[in-house]
C-alpha cells in the first residue's frame, strides 16, 4: 500500500462545500449577495448616465429624486443612481480582493507557524500579538491620510492589515489537524509537509475560512466606506458608496438622497455578508461530528 493511499483511508472525510451551498439557510443571504454582485457587474448597462460626467453645471445641481434622475443629482450635477451603481463595483471589488489578499497571507503565515513549531512558531505568534494590539483603523487612517492612495493601494492596505486574525485562526486549526491520527499516519509514512498541507489540511480549513471570509468582506466594505467617507479612501472622480456619502455629508439636510441611497446599499451589502457568515457557521456547527 502506498503512503498516499494509507493516509487517505485514515483521513476523515473533508467537508464537501458543494452540497451545503444548496441548503436553505444559505439561500437568502446568497441571493442578496448575488443580486448586489449582479448590479455591480451590470453597472455599465444599468446606469442611465456616465457617473463621472457633469450633466449641466448650473441647471442640475442637487436635484431631488425625480423621474429623470430616480436618485437625484449631486453637487457636481452628476446622476446619483449611476454613481451608486458604479460605486457598487468599486466598493464590492475592493473589499473582496482585499479579503482574498488577507486570506492568502494569513493562511500561509498561520500554516507556516503551525508546521514550523518550536521557537519559530513562538516568535511568529508573538509578532502577531503585537500587530493585533494596534487598532486597525488607526493604521488605516494614518496611512490613508498621509499617502494619496490609488484604488490598488487601498486594496493592498486593507488586505495587508486584515490577515492577523486569519493567521491566528489557521494556526489553531492546523495544529488541531496535525494532532489527529490520520496526519500522524501520513507523517509516519513519509508524506512531504507541503503535500500534507495542500492535500489534507487545507480542505479541513474550508469551513473556518469561508466564515472568516464572509465576515471579513462585511468588515472591509464598512472600513472602505468609512475611509472614503473621511476622504482617505477612494478619490474623485471615482465613486464608491463611502465617497458619495462624503459628498452628501455637508448637505445632509437639504440633499439627503446623497447619503440615504449609498448608505442603504452599504448596509445591504454588509448585512448580506454577515448573514452569510452566520448561516455558514450554523450549517457547519450543526454538521460537526462530536469529537
Amino acid at each position: 500500500m502506498s503512503a498516499e493511499a494509507s493516509s487517505r483511508t485514515l483521513a476523515t472525510r473533508a467537508p464537501a462545500l458543494r452540497a451545503r451551498v444548496t441548503s436553505r439557510a444559505l439561500a437568502a443571504p446568497l441571493a442578496l449577495l448575488g443580486a448586489l454582485a449582479l448590479i455591480a457587474v451590470a453597472a455599465p448597462w444599468l446606469a442611465p448616465q456616465d457617473p463621472r460626467v457633469t450633466l449641466d453645471m448650473v441647471g442640475l445641481k442637487y436635484h431631488a429624486p425625480s423621474m429623470a434622475f430616480p436618485l437625484g443629482t449631486d453637487g457636481a450635477s452628476r446622476d446619483v443612481l449611476s454613481r451608486v451603481l458604479y460605486g457598487a463595483r468599486v466598493s464590492l471589488s475592493v473589499a473582496t480582493i482585499a479579503v482574498l489578499v488577507s486570506l492568502v497571507v494569513g493562511t500561509c503565515y498561520g500554516a507556516l507557524a503551525a508546521f514550523a513549531g518550536g521557537r519559530v512558531e513562538q516568535m511568529l505568534m508573538r509578532a502577531l500579538d503585537v500587530a493585533l494590539s494596534l487598532p486597525r483603523m488607526l493604521v488605516l487612517l494614518v496611512v490613508g491620510a498621509l499617502w494619496d492612495l490609488e484604488v490598488r493601494g487601498l486594496i493592498l492596505l486593507l488586505g495587508l492589515t486584515g490577515w492577523y486574525g486569519v493567521a491566528r485562526l489557521v494556526r489553531g486549526e492546523v495544529q488541531q489537524q496535525l494532532a489527529r491520527e490520520y496526519l500522524l499516519a501520513a507523517r509516519a509514512t513519509g508524506v512531504a509537509s507541503w503535500r500534507m498541507l495542500t492535500r489534507h489540511v487545507l480542505p479541513h480549513l474550508l469551513p473556518v475560512l469561508s466564515v472568516a471570509a464572509s465576515i471579513g468582506v462585511a468588515q472591509t466594505i464598512s472600513l472602505e466606506a468609512g475611509l472614503s467617507f473621511l476622504g482617505f479612501g477612494v478619490h474623485e472622480p471615482t465613486a464608491s458608496w463611502g465617497s458619495i456619502m462624503r459628498d452628501g455629508s455637508s448637505v445632509l439636510r437639504s440633499a439627503w438622497w446623497l447619503t440615504l441611497f449609498p448608505g442603504l446599499a452599504t448596509l445591504a451589502a454588509v448585512v448580506a455578508c454577515n448573514w452569510l457568515g452566520d448561516a455558514l457557521r450554523d450549517v457547519f456547527a450543526s454538521e460537526q461530528v462530536p469529537a
Binding site: V139, L141, V142, V143, G226, M245
Partner: protein
C-alpha cells in the same frame, strides 16, 4: 503602546511632506528661511537621531510641540483626552447595559417573534457603519431634540454649573447613542447565545428540580452567562474607539479622533504620534477593565489569581 507610537513615527516620517510643506509653496520665502524653520524643530537631523530625541522626550513626559495648533501637545491632549474618555466610558456602559438586557431577554425566549425581530434589528445595527448611523440619527433627531455638533453652545462661559452640565449632556446624547447602539448590537448577539448555552446546563435543571421559582432561575442563569460577555469588553473598546473617530468627526466632538484627523491633515508629527499613544493607552485601559469585570463575574478566576 510603544510599538504603536513607533509605528506611527515611522509612517509619518516615511510619508511625503512635513509640517512645513506649505512653506515650500510660498515663493517669497527664501530657501534659507525654510531651512531655518525646519532646523528649529530639529527636522534637519538624520531620522535615527530625530527618533532618539523623540523617544527620549516621551520618556521624560515631554510630548512635544504641535505645529498646527501652535501650543504644547500636552495641552492639546489634556483638552481632548477627557472628552473621548468620557464618551467611551458612557458608550461602554450603554453598550453593555442595553446589550446584556436585550440579549438575555432574547435568550430566554429563543425563536419567538420578539426574538426574531430583535435579532434582525441587532444584525442591522451590527452591520451599519457608525458614520452612516450617526448621520441617520442626526437627520432624524436634531431638528427637534438635540444640537447638531460641538460640545457646548455659545455663551457657555456665562451659564451656571447645572446649566453647563445640562448643555454638555445634550450635546453628548447623539454621539453616545450612535456608539452605544452599535456596541449594544455586538453585545446582544453574544449575550443571546450565552444565555441559551447556560439554559442547557445541568445546574439549571437542578435549580428547577429543587423548586426554585423561574425568576430566581433566570437570575442564576444571568450571572453565569455574563462570563463570555465580559471577555468581549476587551474587544469592544478598540471597536468603540474606531467608531469614536467617525462619530467625533460627524458631530464635531473635539476629542482624540477629531484631533487625530486634523493633525494628520497638517502633518503635525508630535501631535499625531501622541494621539496614537493616547488611543493605544485607552485600548490597554479597556483590556484592564475587561479583566476587572471578569473577576467580578467569575469568582473562580478571582480566586485563581489570589492563590497564584
Amino acid at each position: 503602546m510603544f510599538v504603536a507610537a513607533t509605528a506611527a513615527f515611522a509612517l509619518l516620517h516615511a510619508a511625503p511632506g512635513d509640517p512645513y510643506s506649505d512653506l515650500d509653496r510660498n515663493q517669497r520665502l527664501s530657501a534659507a528661511v525654510r531651512a531655518q524653520q525646519r532646523a528649529r524643530r530639529g527636522l534637519d537631523l538624520p531620522l535615527a537621531q530625530q527618533y532618539q530625541r523623540w523617544i527620549g522626550n516621551i520618556a521624560r513626559g515631554d510630548l512635544g510641540w504641535s505645529t498646527s495648533q501652535q501650543r504644547a501637545v500636552r495641552d492639546v491632549i489634556r483638552d481632548a483626552l477627557p472628552r473621548t474618555f468620557g464618551l467611551m466610558a458612557l458608550a461602554l456602559i450603554g453598550s453593555l447595559g442595553f446589550g446584556i438586557a436585550i440579549g438575555a431577554w432574547q435568550g430566554t425566549r429563543a425563536n419567538s417573534a420578539g426574538d426574531r425581530a430583535l435579532s434582525f434589528l441587532s444584525m442591522l445595527m451590527y452591520s451599519v457603519p457608525e458614520f452612516a448611523l450617526a448621520a441617520l440619527l442626526m437627520f432624524v433627531l436634531t431638528p427637534w431634540l438635540f444640537p447638531v455638533g460641538g460640545i457646548m453652545t455659545e455663551g457657555f462661559e456665562l451659564m451656571s454649573w447645572p446649566a453647563r452640565v445640562g448643555n454638555i449632556a445634550r450635546h453628548l446624547v447623539l454621539p453616545w447613542l450612535s456608539l452605544s447602539l452599535v456596541g449594544a448590537a455586538v453585545v446582544a448577539r453574544y449575550q443571546r447565545s450565552a444565555t441559551r448555552d447556560v439554559f442547557r446546563q445541568p445546574f439549571i435543571q437542578t435549580a428547577r428540580a429543587k423548586g426554585l421559582g423561574e425568576r430566581a432561575v433566570r437570575w442564576q442563569a444571568l450571572r453565569a452567562s455574563l462570563l463570555p460577555v465580559t471577555a468581549l469588553t476587551g474587544l469592544l473598546v478598540p471597536s468603540l474607539l474606531t467608531g469614536a473617530v467617525f462619530v467625533e468627526q460627524i458631530f464635531n466632538w473635539p476629542g482624540m479622533g477629531l484631533t487625530l484627523l486634523r493633525g494628520l491633515d497638517e502633518r503635525d508629527y508630535d501631535l499625531v504620534t501622541s494621539v496614537v499613544l493616547g488611543i493605544a493607552g485607552l485600548t490597554v485601559l479597556g483590556s484592564l477593565v475587561a479583566d476587572l469585570l471578569r473577576d467580578i463575574a467569575d469568582p473562580r478566576a478571582r480566586d485563581a489569581a489570589r492563590t497564584d
